[in-house]
């Protein structure tokens, strides 16, 4: 195996071209072509019927709510909505579909030619959308008998078709050139924006960790001025962070191969969450031979312009507008707001403000201390074990003078360790600012006695020297004193 290049080496020589395919499971009540429930967590094979099992003679009928949801997504992504569109059969033999085909769309998708704008590092990128089409999800396959649980070595597969037939929207971008070293961040920003747009429409819960939003990342490299290279398609990318990492890894891997004079094969690769690496999956040669043909059991769709305009008028406030509104309400500059967006903290800060914190305090915690910790642990901010309400509570304790910044950080340690709410942690760990003036005065007297020269300086009018004594008192009280109060006591005694 060729050694990887560093990312910096790679983008100094090659230009990445990105492409993203996203699958979003809609949260309709029923499946795409039958009345089976889509409720999550049911016993295996209890939400199946002759239609989704493709028993002979069954007749699929399209779910109107799913078609409407897809048109809404298309409109929110600035797409043209087809006047004439139909379903197609995508033929393949794999037991995740009992029909031996997946009902999808081929040459006539419901929505085409849209775009999503994102800003990364102060630069605006327009990611063009090629198509948005409607299809159905597959069943869940469990590979058993092997030693690893993975397919290699498995002796048989067990299939649950509850998920087979749930409406799935596929959103495909056009190739995105010109992102250079920012390719990983642009891929992430696009996915986050898409997720936020779809969430705002209320048509899917778009939870990446639960698989209701799934990403495939396409990537190729070329030298400047040369033709685009052969692309790989990385599947199994299940978080925003993974999108970024998958792009980064493929850039590093492909550039090393190209440097060594090897060629890139068009192939499907799998992303591994634990290592951040990709490995080859099935070869594309035969897999792409899906022999699509128009679905004869389903009627053609001709969405009327009145219907489309009705749906357009029903669109809620989209993320871009919402961000503009929140930015004004929070009095943030463009750059600061962009940091909030890139940290995926808009919802968190909004909820923290709703729980009583000021916008500036909410921004400070989420972008400062908590972002730093999320980076350290490699987690998404929203996945951390602290809620917006707890952050608001923490800030309330700081505002009340019960905690200083240092103690607040220790309280965060406890909350993240699962020790309870900020007040629980403060009580259990004995983290409270010492407000007993008697104790503080005694500590100040000790500090003065131990540092006579400093004390003289302060007496002489050099108030800045008080810092040394404050430090000594803080040390003596294990950081549990309020620095402002200590300073005041020192100046009262020596000023």
């Amino acid at each position: 195996m060729t050694k990887l290049n560093t990312f910096e080496q790679a983008v100094a020589t090659y230009e990445p071209v990105l492409g993203l395919e996203t699958h979003i499971e809609l949260d309709t009540n029923t499946k795409m072509f039958c009345g089976c429930s889509t409720a999550f967590g049911a016993e295996p094979n209890t939400q199946v019927c002759p239609v989704c099992l493709a028993l002979p003679g069954a007749l699929p009928v399209a779910n109107k709510a799913a078609v409407e949801a897809t048109i809404k997504i298309g409109l929110a992504l600035n797409c043209r909505i087809a006047e004439w569109t139909r379903f197609a059969r995508k033929n393949y033999f794999y037991p995740d579909m009992p029909k031996n085909f997946q009902t999808s769309q081929y040459e006539e998708p419901l929505c085409e030619d849209g775009y999503v704008d994102v800003v990364v590092d102060g630069k605006a990128y327009r990611v063009e959308i090629e198509r948005v089409h409607l299809e159905e999800d597959t069943g869940k396959t469990l590979h058993v008998g092997g030693t690893t649980g993975r397919i290699h070595g498995a002796t048989e597969s067990l299939v649950d078709y509850n998920r087979a037939g749930i409406p799935l929207v596929e959103i495909v971008t056009k190739p995105v050139p010109g992102t250079g070293a920012l390719a990983p961040e642009v891929a992430r920003a696009y996915t986050a924006e898409l997720r936020d747009i779809v969430r705002s429409l209320g048509v899917s819960d778009v939870r990446m960790e639960q698989g209701s939003l799934r990403c495939d990342v396409n990537l190729s490299l070329n030298r400047p001025g040369e033709e685009w290279g052969t692309r790989t398609e990385t599947k199994n990318v299940n978080s925003l962070r993974s999108v970024e990492r998958a792009v980064r890894y493929e850039v590093r891997r492909q550039s090393a191969l190209l440097d060594a004079g090897e060629r890139i094969f068009q192939e499907t690769r799998h992303f591994h969450e634990t290592t951040g690496e990709t490995s080859p999956g099935r070869s594309k040669e035969e897999a792409t031979d899906y022999r699509y043909f128009p679905e004869p059991d389903l009627a053609v769709m001709e969405p009327s312009r009145e219907w489309v305009e009705e749906l357009r008028a029903s669109l809620p406030e989209l993320p871009r507008k919402r961000r503009e509104r929140l930015q004004a309400a929070w009095s943030l500059g463009d750059k600061e707001m962009q940091s909030v967006v890139n940290a995926d903290a808009v919802d968190l800060i909004e909820a923290t403000v709703a729980a009583g914190a000021t916008p500036s305090a909410a921004v400070k915690w989420w972008l400062g201390e908590l972002s730093r910790r999320a980076n350290e642990s490699g987690e998404e901010l929203a996945a951390m074990r602290i809620t917006p309400a707890e952050v608001a509570e923490l800030q309330g304790m700081v505002d009340d003078g019960r905690l200083n910044d240092k103690l607040a950080r220790q309280v965060i340690d406890g909350v993240l360790a699962g020790e309870g709410s900020p007040s629980d942690v403060a009580a259990k760990r004995g983290l409270e600012v010492v407000s007993d003036t008697g104790a503080l005065e005694a500590a100040v007297d000790e500090a003065i006695a131990a540092n006579p020269a400093v004390a003289d300086k302060i007496r002489g009018g050099t108030h800045a020297a008080a810092g040394v004594l404050i430090g000594a008192v803080m040390k003596a009280t294990k950081g549990q004193a309020d620095a402002g109060t200590v300073r005041q006591i020192i100046l009262d005694k020596l000023g």
């Binding site: 089976c36 016993e43 295996p44 209890t46 139909r86 033999f93 469990l142 649950d160 389903l298 769709m301």
Partner: protein
């Protein structure tokens, strides 16, 4: 000249999971060739501006409301499968791909 090769027929048979003998390959290649020639003749017709026909009946926009209907009892659903295990359909192992 034949419009479809023996290899192409073998490839299609593999995609459709059909077992085909060598004699059958020759026979099918010949028969498919006749069909493809006929399609070629049809393709000569000028169809510019003609909407492709999907259905014999002019039905459009046939939709269903998003109302749940009862599913099959699980036993009935599983009865159609070749084999089951722990309420799931059991199938032979699948090579070279992950779910």
């Amino acid at each position: 000249m034949s419009t479809i090769s023996r290899e192409e027929v073998a490839h299609l048979a593999r995609l459709a999971r059909l077992e085909v003998t060598d004699e059958e390959l020759d026979a099918f290649a010949g028969q498919l060739d006749v069909i493809l020639q006929s399609m070629k003749t049809l393709a000569e017709v000028d169809t510019d501006g003609v909407q492709p026909t999907s259905h014999a009946v002019p039905l459009v926009n046939v939709f269903r409301e998003d109302q749940p209907q009862p599913s099959l009892p699980r036993d009935a659903a599983l009865a159609g499968g070749p084999d089951t295990f722990e309420d799931r359909f059991r199938v032979p192992r699948i090579l070279d791909e992950e779910a």
